[in-house]
């Protein structure tokens, strides 16, 4: 595979600009591959990778060379004549002295290549960190922060709470809310004890590599970078372990109890380093004798874990030592990072359960308090707005009610009008009736008059006849 970087910068304004940190991360992820010079590239070898990096006028060439030199890889830099012309004389030659960087004036490869983006991911194996807390709430924040600030981040973090009675759940929930894609939380409804809790926790993760961190301890920030490298580079190695640094009130006492030959340096009476033996045939004998030098926060392969059936209950030795012994008996190898990558707190149980408020915890709560306050302010603003809106709505309703009232009055008035009209009609009807009666009376009068006239006419005829 040919990889080509268009440009590497301090910050990325579009996805083709890769930051120094992303370049570093991607170069770490490529350690399972065989990085070859372009001249040795075999396109049919799926493990071969060639790294082309385009140097632009805006690239900090010195910084990119320095970063690339941290890796034992060959690189192909594309430096155009134009870019080269602004460099001081011999600057490029001096920069590239004793490096594995080859310079090309332009990118001439005609075959297929992959353009590396800022968010490109070359990781083959994933890592889970399981933080186990049982009433270690007061140290939990320090443990979580030590994982979140790793130079090479894990793919998942599981906080497993074996039914603590302290603030473990509260702290974990806030972190889950803040990093929903990275952190998960498991709380056992009853206290399961170490073995069951650990087996359950492993079953709740899915990554290829697993490591446990006691909530009272901290990882040095290069723990994952260094331990996962060991597992990445040799598939027969099942466990990557480290030296550790004891600290805390009982550090000295615990340090004194170790084998003389394992005692390392003491740093400012603060850290007491234990240097464990390398994993060789002698070391395997040491393990068989029941002497452990692989601490419980070592990183191991899920494959090895599943092959030996996980942590076992019936063990007379500590569960982690028992697990690692069985892995080694099964033929898995182990390898040590010669650095104290685990900061191992030594305190009495009393102190741990004392709910001693650490500074980190104080800061955490102050921060949470500040955020809550901001939230409350926002909510208050919203309530104010709602109240104002409500007031306006009330006014609207008042107006509508008034309107309604006026309409009602209108209707009443109309009804009254109607009634008056009805009465008028009644009166008119009466009038009509009276008039009709008058007409009837007049008709009767007329009839009487007619009859009178007829009688008079009869009389007149009679008189006429008499006269004849």
């Amino acid at each position: 595979m040919i990889l080509k970087y268009e440009g590497v910068y301090y910050e990325s304004n579009d996805n083709c600009q890769v930051t120094m940190d992303q370049l570093y991360k991607q170069l770490l992820e490529l350690r399972t591959k065989e990085i070859v010079p372009f001249s040795n590239y075999d396109a049919f070898n799926i493990n071969h990778v060639v790294l082309f990096i385009n140097i632009t006028g805006e690239t900090d060439l010195k910084a990119v060379v320095f970063l690339c030199n941290q890796f034992n890889y060959p690189f192909e830099f594309i430096i155009s004549e134009k870019v080269r012309s602004v460099l001081v004389e011999n600057e490029l030659e001096n920069l590239l002295k004793n490096t594995q960087i080859h310079v090309h004036e332009r990118f001439t490869y005609n075959g297929e290549y992959y353009l590396v983006k800022n968010d490109s991911n070359f990781k083959k194996k994933t890592t889970a960190v399981i933080i186990a807390s049982y009433n270690y709430g007061s140290f939990l924040i320090e443990a979580i922060e030590s994982v979140l600030r790793q130079t090479f981040l894990p793919d998942e973090i599981l906080i497993t709470d074996d039914c603590s009675e302290d603030n473990t759940q509260e702290i974990a929930s806030i972190y889950v809310e803040k990093y929903p894609d990275l952190i998960k939380f498991n709380r056992n409804p009853t206290n399961l004890g170490i073995v069951q809790n650990f087996n359950k926790a492993v079953s709740l993760t899915k990554s290829d590599y697993i490591c446990f961190l006691g909530a009272d301890n901290r990882f040095r920030s290069d723990y994952i970078e260094r331990t996962s490298e060991i597992l990445d580079c040799n598939p027969r190695i099942g466990i990557a372990y480290t030296d550790f640094a004891l600290f805390g009130p009982r550090a000295r006492i615990v340090y004194d109890s170790f084998n003389e030959e394992w005692k390392g340096s003491i740093k400012y009476n603060e850290f007491y380093i234990i240097n464990f033996p390398e994993f060789d045939t002698n070391a395997i004998e040491t393990i068989k004798e029941g002497k452990n030098f692989i601490h419980g926060s070592s990183m191991y392969r899920r494959e090895a874990f599943e092959e030996v059936g996980g942590y076992l209950q019936e063990s007379t030795v500590p569960e982690d030592f028992n697990l690692f012994s069985r892995m080694i008996s099964q033929g898995w190898l182990a390898k040590k990072v010669n650095q104290p990558l685990l900061e191992y707190r030594q305190h009495s149980r009393d102190q741990a359960n004392n709910k001693m408020i650490s500074y980190a915890e104080l800061a955490f709560y102050k921060d949470a308090y500040k955020k809550s306050n901001m939230l409350i302010e926002d909510k208050e603003k919203y309530i104010n707005w709602l109240e104002n809106t409500n007031g306006e709505k009330d006014k609207g309703i008042q107006w509508l009610e008034n309107q309604l009232l006026e309409r009602n009055e209108g209707i009443e008035w109309l009804k009254a009008q109607l009634k008056e009209k009805d009465e008028g009609i009644e009166w008119l009807k009466t009038q009509l009736k009276e008039k009709d009666e008058g007409i009837e009376w007049l008709k009767a009068q007329l009839k009487e008059k007619d009859e009178g006239i007829k009688w008079l006419e009869g009389e007149l005829e009679n008189r006429n006849n008499d006269m004849k």
Binding site: Y9, Y10, E11, S12, T19, M20, D21, Q22, Y24, K25, D60, K62, A63, F66, L67, Q70, E142, E145, S146, R149, Q150, T151, R218, R220, S221, D222, E225, A245, F247, K267, Y268, E270, F271, P340, E343, Y359, A360, L362, A363, K366, D367
Partner: protein, 175 residues
Amino acid sequence: MGIDAINDYLNIQNSITDSDKYAKFLNDKRDIIIAESSFRSFDNVIDIGCGDGYITKKIRGNHILGIDISDAVIQKADENCTRNVEFSKHSLFDLIDEKNSKYDLVLFSEVLYEPYIGGSCNLIYKIIDNILNENGVVITCHVDDYYRMRFPYLLKNQLYFDNENDIYKLEVYIK
């Protein structure tokens, strides 16, 4: 680097309106840094992003170097400079060139914020590792909300303190 982020950051700085109060806070901060560095003596000290040198001039050590990318503050720092303190205009990333000088104490006070360093944390860890002696000390002091780094050394101490607006975190590392 990100103008918006710098502006955001400067707004925070400016939000401390009472300048006397802020000056007092800077003094307190300096005193805390000096107190936390006094658990051993130092031969070579470097104060990276030293500003006008208000910490550089007070910190104890045989040879002290303050560097900053701003010409103006370096000139100001150079005034009334005592003989074992030097200032020069350099960036943190110029330290890649340091071939032989090894330091016993590296100090970062309000430098390692994203607007200033972009996405280059791992580059910085490597640069510092290159110039820091075995058993050397790194002290960092930053507003906790804007600081995401952790040097790959043993963390001797972490200390929190606050002014009215922010919680500061001070870390002491041992290589």
